[in-house]
C-alpha cells in the first residue's frame, strides 16, 4: 500500500488492527483524483425525479448538460424533468450579473411549459457573482402565481451532502401547503427512494398489499401536488437517510410526524421495513399481512437464490458507493448469497455509519472514506476481490482489473429493491462474477 497518501491514513481502517475512529466528513485533498461530486450534484439528484416540475439550472452550460437526464428515475406520467433547461451564462452575464437573464428564462419557461412548480438551481458561478436568486424567484412566483423554489447549491460550498440539505430545504417549502386534503388511515410517506428502474412501484405494491397508503414518495416519481400534502402522513419512512434525513427531522419538528429509517435492499431489511410500519400503526391485521407477504415472497425467493449462492460461495466483494447506509445493506445482502465483503467505503458516510460497518464486517475488512482510484485498485488487488460494487467512475476500473461489477448507483438498469430486487441482484452479481470473458486474460 505504498501509494496511499499519508494525509489520508486516518480515512482508512482495517478491522482488527489498532482501533481508531474513521475520519470522515473531511474535505478532499487538493490534487486527489476524488470520486466525489458537488453540492449542486447532490441537490440535482434528489429533486430530479419530480416529474411535473420545471428544473432550471442557473449557470454556465456544463452544469446543465452533464445533469441532463442522467439518472434513470422513472415517471409514470409527465416527463418534464427529463429535459435540460439552462440559462447558459455568458461572459457578459458574469460581468454584469445574471439576474435579468434568469428572470427572462424563468418567465419564458413557465409560460411555455406551465409546470406545477419550478426549481431554480444556483451553481458555483452564481454564488460568486452574487446574483440574488431568491429575489428573482420571489418576483417570478408572484407574477406567474406558481411556486418558484430556489435551490442554493453552489458547488464549492461543501459536498454532495450539503446538496441534499439544499434539496430538502426546497422541498420543505412545498410540504404542508395543501391543507384541504384528508389523508386516508395508515398513511405514510416514503422518503429517499428515487424510483430507479421502477423500484418504487414494487415497494408501493408491497405496502398496498398490507393496507398502507402512500401519500407521496420523495422524490421518486414525484408530483408537486402530492408533496404539498405530505404533512398529512402518520409516519415518514426514510430509505436513503443520507439524502432525506433533514426533511424527515424537519417534518418531525414542524408537524409531529415521526420517522423510521429503513432499507429496501436485501431480504432482512425489506421485511423489517414492512414490519416496522405495521408495528408503528400497532395494527395486528397489518402485521399479519406483512408476515404473510414476507413468507410468501421468501418461499419463492430462497430456492431461487440457491443456485447463485452455490456458485458464489466464498467469493469476495468490494463496495464503494455514495451513501454508507446503502453499503450496510449491501454487506448483508452479499452475505445472503454467500459472498464476503473485504472492502467497503463511501463518499459521504458519517461516524455512525462507519461504526456500524465496523461492527457488521469481518476482521480484516478494509473500511474507507472518500477514496480514489489508486487506493481502490490497490485494495482490490491486495484482497483478491471478485466483485466490485460502485458507480459510473468505478465500473471501468473494475473491468480493467478483470473483476465483476455491479452498479448500485444511477446507472442500474435492474430494480434491486425488495424481494424481486434481491433476485435481480443475485442474478446480476452472478452474471458478472462468473462471466466467461474473465478467462481471456491473466489476472
Amino acid at each position: 500500500m505504498e501509494r496511499i497518501i499519508k494525509e489520508r491514513s486516518t480515512q482508512v481502517h482495517t478491522i482488527g488492527t489498532s482501533a481508531h475512529d474513521l475520519d470522515c466528513e473531511k474535505k478532499s485533498l487538493a490534487g486527489s483524483v476524488s470520486q466525489r461530486a458537488c453540492v449542486f450534484c447532490g441537490s440535482r439528484v434528489v429533486l430530479y425525479p419530480i416529474a411535473d416540475a420545471l428544473h432550471l439550472i442557473h449557470g454556465p452550460i456544463g452544469c446543465a448538460a452533464y445533469t441532463w437526464d442522467i439518472r434513470g428515475a422513472l415517471s409514470s406520467g409527465p416527463q418534464l424533468h427529463r429535459l435540460s433547461f439552462s440559462t447558459d451564462l455568458r461572459e457578459r452575464d458574469v460581468v454584469f450579473g445574471g439576474e435579468p437573464k434568469l428572470y427572462t428564462a424563468l418567465t419564458e419557461l413557465i409560460e411555455a411549459y406551465k409546470p406545477k412548480a419550478a426549481f431554480v438551481y444556483s451553481t458555483c458561478i452564481v454564488g460568486v457573482i452574487g446574483d440574488d436568486v431568491e429575489a428573482v424567484c420571489r418576483k417570478v412566483a408572484a407574477e406567474q402565481k406558481i411556486d418558484v423554489l430556489p435551490v442554493m447549491a453552489e458547488g464549492f460550498k461543501g459536498t454532495k451532502k450539503d446538496g441534499y440539505k439544499a434539496a430538502c430545504d426546497a422541498l420543505s417549502k412545498l410540504v404542508g401547503t395543501d391543507n384541504n386534503f384528508q389523508a386516508p388511515p395508515f398513511s405514510i410517506n416514503i422518503l429517499g427512494d428515487f424510483n430507479l428502474a421502477g423500484e418504487l412501484w414494487m415497494l408501493k405494491e408491497y405496502y398496498e398489499k398490507i393496507g398502507v397508503n402512500i401519500i407521496t414518495c420523495l422524490t421518486g416519481d414525484g408530483r408537486i401536488d402530492e408533496i404539498r400534502q405530505a404533512h398529512k402522513a402518520s409516519i415518514n419512512v426514510v430509505q436513503c437517510s443520507g439524502s432525506m434525513m433533514h426533511l424527515a427531522k424537519e417534518m418531525e419538528e414542524k408537524y409531529d410526524i415521526p420517522f423510521i429509517k429503513v432499507s429496501y435492499f436485501g431480504i432482512e431489511d425489506m421485511a423489517d421495513a414492512l414490519y416496522e410500519v405495521a408495528g408503528f400503526f400497532k395494527n395486528e391485521e397489518m402485521l399479519q399481512k406483512a408476515k404473510e407477504l414476507v413468507s410468501e415472497e421468501i418461499k419463492t425467493l430462497l430456492p431461487a437464490l440457491e443456485p447463485f449462492k452455490e456458485k458464489l460461495q466464498g467469493k469476495k466483494a468490494a463496495i464503494y458507493v455514495g451513501g454508507a447506509f446503502k453499503a450496510i445493506s449491501l454487506v448483508k445482502a452479499l452475505r445472503l448469497i454467500g459472498m464476503k465483503t473485504v472492502m467497503v467505503g463511501s463518499q459521504t458516510g458519517n461516524k455512525d455509519d462507519y461504526n456500524l460497518l465496523q461492527k457488521l464486517c469481518d476482521k480484516e475488512t478494509i473500511i474507507v472514506d472518500d477514496s480514489n482510484p489508486n487506493e481502490l485498485s490497490e485494495f482490490v488487488k491486495e484482497k483478491g476481490v471478485d466483485l466490485f460494487i460502485g458507480g459510473v467512475k468505478e465500473r471501468p476500473i473494475a473491468y480493467k482489473l478483470g473483476i465483476g461489477f455491479c452498479d448500485h448507483n444511477h446507472e442500474r438498469k435492474e430494480a434491486l429493491a425488495g424481494f424481486e430486487g434481491m433476485l435481480n441482484f443475485a442474478n446480476e452479481v452472478y452474471a458478472s462474477v462468473t462471466s466467461p470473458v474473465w478467462k481471456f486474460f491473466k489476472r
Binding site: R3, S28, L29, A30, G31, S32, V33, S34, R36, A37, C38, F40, C41, G59, P60, I61, G62, C63, A64, A65, Y66, W68, I70, Q79, L80, L83, S84, F85, S86, T87, D88, L89, R90, E91, K101, Y103, E108, L109, C124, I125, G127, V128, G155, F156, K157, T159, P373, N374, S377, V392, K393, R395, P396, I397, K400, L401, F440, F441, K442, R443
Partner: protein
C-alpha cells in the same frame, strides 16, 4: 412521448437554452490532455465539475478517465485558489507520478480571477515541479465557447509549452488531429503510414481511451503523444490542422513560435474532405498518393454508386461540433442527400459561410444555426414543422428519434448509449464507408420494420 412538451411553434427565446447541443470547455481540455502520454489532467475548481467531466468521458469511452481536482471550497473562493493548486501539484507528483500535469481552469477559478500561468510559474520557481516533470495549462472558462474551444485551448497550451525550434529540420509533418475518436486517430496514422509520411499526431488518444484488457489498471496507458515528439514539432516541415474550431489556435501558435507553416483542412469526413486532406499531406510531405489509398476511395465511390437510389433526396437533420458538421454536410450532399437542419451550440464566425457554400445551391431550403439558442429544442421544432428521414448526431437525439420515429445514426460527442464510435473510424475513405453503411442500415431497417407486408422485399 418523452418530448411531448415540444411543439412546432417556434417562440423567440431570449435567455434560454433547452437541451443544449454543446457542453463546457474543461471537458474538451481534459480529452485533449488524455492524448498526451503520461499526462494527468487537472481541473482547477470545485470537485463537481471534475466529477462530471470524468463521468461523461467515462460514459462515452467506457474506459477509466483519470483527472485530479483542486477541490475548491468557500475559502478558495474568497482567498483565491493559488494555495489549492500549489498543494495539488505537490500531491499529484508524489502520489500519482505523472510526467505531465495538464491544468485547466473552470468557470469558478476564472471568475475569482486565478491566473494559472502565474500560479504554475510560482510552483516552478519554488521547486515544486520535479526535474524532468512538466505542468502545462490552458484557460477554459465555460461562459465563453464550448467543449470544442476548451479542446482547442488545451492543444494550444501543449504546443506553447513543448514545441521548440532547434537547428535541425525534421523530415516530418505535424498533424493536429481535432476532436475525433481514438479510432479516428488510429485511422489517421494508418493513412499516413500508407503514404509513407513521418509525422507527429497531436493529441493521440488511441491506446489511451481504447486500451486493451490486460487485467491491470494503468493510470497511464501506453498511448499518447510523447514529450520528445511534442518538442520536435517545432522542427517539422509543415503542420496540417484538421478542423478550424479545434486546431487553428494551436496551428497559429506553432507558426508564431517556431515558424512552422500550416494548412487548415477540414476533418477528412466523406470524399471531398478526405481528398483535400490527402492532397495536403501529399503536397506538404512531397509524396505521391499510393495506389492503395486510391483504391479505398474507389471502393467508397463504388458503394455509393451501388446504393444511390436509396440515398437520393433523403432529408437529414444534424447536430454536433462545427468541425464535424461541415464535412459531414458536404458528404451528405455528395451522396445526393439533403441535410436540411443543422445546429451546433458551438459559436464561430465561419459556420454560416461554410454551410452556405455547401448547401446554398443544392439544399436551398436548409436551415442552420450555431451559437446561442442553437439547441436540440430548436432542432426538434424544425423537425415538427417539416419532418426528416434521418437524424445524425450524438446520443441526445434518441428522444427525437423515438418520439418522431425517425432512424438515427449516432455520431459525435457524447455517445453514451451505444458502442463502436471509439473502435471504428469515421474519418478517411474507410470511415466514409462506415458512415454510409450506418446510414443505409438505419434507413433500410426502418423500411423493413414499417413497410406494408406486400412491399416487403428480400433483396435491397
Amino acid at each position: 412521448m418523452l418530448l411531448n412538451h415540444t411543439t412546432s411553434k417556434i417562440v423567440e427565446r431570449k435567455a434560454l437554452t433547452v437541451n443544449p447541443a454543446k457542453t463546457c470547455q474543461p471537458i474538451g481540455a481534459m480529452y485533449a490532455a488524455l492524448g498526451i502520454h503520461g499526462c494527468l489532467p487537472h481541473s482547477h475548481g470545485s470537485q463537481g465539475c471534475c466529477s462530471y467531466h470524468r463521468s461523461t468521458l467515462t460514459r462515452h469511452y467506457k474506459e477509466p478517465v483519470m483527472a485530479a481536482t483542486s477541490s475548491f471550497t468557500e475559502g478558495a473562493c474568497v482567498f483565491g485558489g493559488q494555495s489549492n493548486l500549489l498543494q495539488a501539484i505537490t500531491n499529484i507528483f508524489t502520489i500519482y507520478e505523472p510526467d505531465i500535469i495538464a491544468v485547466h481552469s473552470t468557470c469558478l477559478s476564472e471568475t475569482i480571477g486565478d491566473d494559472l500561468s502565474q500560479i504554475v510559474g510560482k510552483a516552478a520557481s519554488e521547486g515544486q515541479i520535479p526535474e524532468g516533470k512538466h505542468v502545462i495549462q490552458a484557460p477554459t472558462p465555460s461562459y465563453v465557447g464550448s467543449h470544442v474551444t476548451g479542446y482547442a485551448n488545451m492543444v494550444e497550451g501543449i504546443v506553447k509549452y513543448f514545441a521548440k525550434k532547434s537547428d535541425e529540420l525534421k523530415n516530418q509533418l505535424n498533424i493536429l488531429s481535432g476532436w475525433v475518436e481514438p479510432s479516428d486517430m488510429r485511422e489517421l496514422k494508418r493513412m499516413l503510414k500508407l503514404m509513407k509520411v513521418k509525422n507527429v499526431l497531436l493529441p493521440d488518444t488511441s491506446d489511451v481511451l481504447d486500451s486493451p484488457m490486460t487485467g491491470k489498471f494503468e493510470m497511464y496507458p501506453k498511448g499518447g503523444t510523447t514529450i520528445p515528439e511534442m518538442v520536435s514539432m517545432g522542427d517539422s516541415l509543415h503542420t496540417i490542422a484538421l478542423g478550424e474550431w479545434a486546431t487553428e489556435k494551436a496551428a497559429i501558435t506553432l507558426d508564431n513560435q517556431c515558424k512552422v507553416k500550416f494548412s487548415m483542412t477540414d476533418l477528412p469526413i466523406g470524399i471531398q474532405a478526405t481528398d483535400r486532406f490527402i492532397q495536403a499531406i501529399a503536397k506538404a510531405g512531397s509524396v505521391s498518393v499510393p495506389e492503395s489509398i486510391n483504391d479505398e476511395r474507389g471502393r467508397l465511390v463504388d458503394v455509393i454508386t451501388d446504393m444511390h437510389q436509396y440515398l437520393y433526396g433523403k432529408r437529414v437533420a444534424l447536430w454536433g461540433d462545427p468541425d464535424q458538421l461541415i464535412p459531414l454536410a458536404e458528404f451528405l450532399v455528395d451522396m445526393d442527400m439533403k441535410p436540411v437542419y443543422i445546429v451546433s451550440g458551438t459559436p464561430g464566425k465561419n459556420f454560416n459561410k461554410r454551410m452556405e457554400e455547401i448547401l446554398g445551391e443544392s439544399v436551398p431550403e436548409a436551415k442552420y444555426k450555431n451559437g446561442a439558442n442553437a439547441d436540440m429544442l430548436l432542432m426538434h421544432q424544425w423537425i415538427k414543422e417539416n419532418p426528416v428521414d434521418l437524424l445524425i448526431g450524438n446520443t441526445y437525439g434518441k428522444y427525437i428519434s423515438r418520439d418522431e420515429n425517425i432512424p438515427f445514426v449516432r455520431m459525435g460527442f457524447p455517445i453514451i448509449d451505444r458502442i463502436g464510435h471509439s473502435y471504428f473510424p469515421t474519418l478517411g475513405y474507410m470511415g466514409g464507408l462506415r458512415i454510409l453503411e450506418k446510414i443505409l442500415s438505419a434507413l433500410m431497417d426502418k423500411q423493413d420494420a414499417t413497410c406494408p407486408e406486400e412491399s416487403f422485399e428480400l433483396v435491397m
